[in-house]
């Protein structure tokens, strides 16, 4: 073949491939921006949840590691300081006035001071934190099993979800919140932690109280928890998707 023809052919091939990939990519981008397509993609979440719940024993524990496995640096993601005046005051007081309220669809709403929570039976677990971004870190968490708190407030039969309201707001003033299925509150490793690696929780990691929900991704692990609310529907809370990140397109069921 003559060199010019080879060149011409190569140019043609390159052009065709480039155009094809551009069409495919812009096609995918158009679908992403469409009103209907992300709704179809979202159906996978329900399927994933159904299958994962069916094959995972209810009380199966997430792997617990040894002290030697603990990450030297445990990165803090998301909000690393609520930055409100109210929170600054709590910091100044050493969180002595911090309370956890449990309200909503329960027989006996209650609140606990941080000191009272620390008096309750606790659980310590060295677990792996899997961020949605892809990285993992291992830390030792100590806190109160939420199941114990549930036994004290007695959820009503209607209650389906536990919503965690937090003290942090984003730059636009939107409050952070998270939620989980009520059944997951009774998992032994689901705790409200007040210690990381044997030290009181620091501000970047959610002082003084944060959620550990070990079988799901990092963005479910709400920090700066002030209030738990049991509800029968997530509609009407925040953006209605069950959490700050969920309202921005992340899955509510964060098992994968």
């Amino acid at each position: 073949m003559k060199p010019e023809r080879a060149l011409e052919r190569r140019r043609f091939l390159k052009g065709t491939l480039g155009a094809a990939s551009l069409v495919a990519l812009s096609g995918c981008d158009n679908l992403t921006q469409s009103s209907w397509f992300p709704g179809i993609l979202g159906k996978a979440e329900r399927l994933t949840e159904t299958v994962q719940r069916a094959i995972t024993p209810r009380d199966a524990l997430a792997k617990e590691y040894h002290a030697a496995d603990i990450s030297k640096i445990f990165p803090a993601n998301g909000n690393t300081d609520p930055g409100t005046e109210e929170y600054a005051e709590h910091v100044a007081q050493g969180f002595s006035e911090w309370t956890l309220e449990v309200v909503g669809l329960v027989k006996t709403p209650r609140s606990w001071s941080l000191a009272a929570l620390k008096e309750l039976p606790f659980r310590t677990q060295i677990t792996r934190h899997d961020c949605v971004e892809g990285w993992s870190a291992i830390g030792k968490w100590t806190g109160v099993p939420i199941g114990d708190l549930m036994h004290q407030v007695e959820p009503l039969p209607k209650a389906r979800y536990a919503v965690f309201h937090c003290a942090d707001v984003d730059d636009e003033g939107i409050a952070y919140y998270e939620s989980m299925a009520l059944a997951d509150c009774f998992h032994p490793q689901t705790i409200l932690a007040y210690k990381l690696n044997d030290a009181p929780l620091d501000i970047p990691h959610g002082a003084p109280l944060r959620l550990r929900f070990e079988r799901q991704l990092g963005y479910k692990q709400a920090k700066y928890v002030t209030r738990m609310e049991l509800v029968d529907s997530l509609a009407g809370i925040g953006g209605g998707k069950g959490g700050y990140w969920e309202d921005q397109g992340y899955e509510w069921y964060a098992g994968i």
């Binding site: 990519l25 995918c28 981008d29 992300p38 399927l47 199966a60 892809g134």
Partner: protein, 308 residues
Amino acid sequence: MAAPIRFRDHAVNSGVEPVPTAELPASATASANDRGASSAPSVERVYRHRLPVRISHWLNVPFLIILIMSGLQIFNAHPALYWGDRSDRDRPLLSMRPMQTDSGEIKGITAILGHQFDTTGVLGYSNGMGRGFPAWATIPSGKWLAMGRQWHLFFAWLFVVNGLMFMAYALASRHVTRDLAPTKRDLRSIGKSIKDHLILRHPTGEEAKRYNVLQKLAYATILFIVAPLIVLTGLAMSPTIDTAFPWLLIMFGGRQAARTIHFIACFSFVGFIVIHVLQVVLTGFLNNIRSMVTGWFTVRHEGASHEA
């Protein structure tokens, strides 16, 4: 006008589909064969790919493209790989990061096992932004982790269902044992086959009717090693699945190791696809495409006087 060449039609693999008798004007093949052969060359049509295989094959084209490109989007959220269970950020196996030089210029630096490469414009830094893979390689093209996950986790289901259906069919129909498993003779001829591939000499005649040994090994590796590996390592990244099947973490050496293997398996697919498409083009593009669309593959038997 020369006499028409008769096709010796027969279905090699299956009696399910009709066996057409077709004739083609000699002009279509005459020029290639008109080299003074003493006996007439003939063109044989063989039924090479059965319908379930063809469907499964073509479904995988969009599925894999979407999975690879949305996977790169997800990778871009933390463009670094590690071994073991945790990410020790000072010791990545691979990372793609923007870095500022002394002159203030930003470069994309890819580090593999401590060795740094300048990959500005493609990896680490492209289009004026710090990002692992460039916009043209990801779905969506912009940085959007939540949407990349939506695409990836939806098409992952389709890929798995398609794969399981193919496996069931391939085993039940004996496609695996008959067409994909290399025979002892195949394995003995592996050296010759490698040489033939390197000089781009392709099997003709009877030999072209079945997969050659490298082809068999490539298909079998992708189907039975890389594809299951990419699914299992994907599952091993799920904290819930790790709880249900703790052996996954043991098998792959930790969640971050699973993520690294997932990435390597992804690029094994990319490598396979590049070579596969190249071979399809080199060994008779239209014939190959036709056989994967209709099932029918054309094999040309040269006349006796000019053996290859």
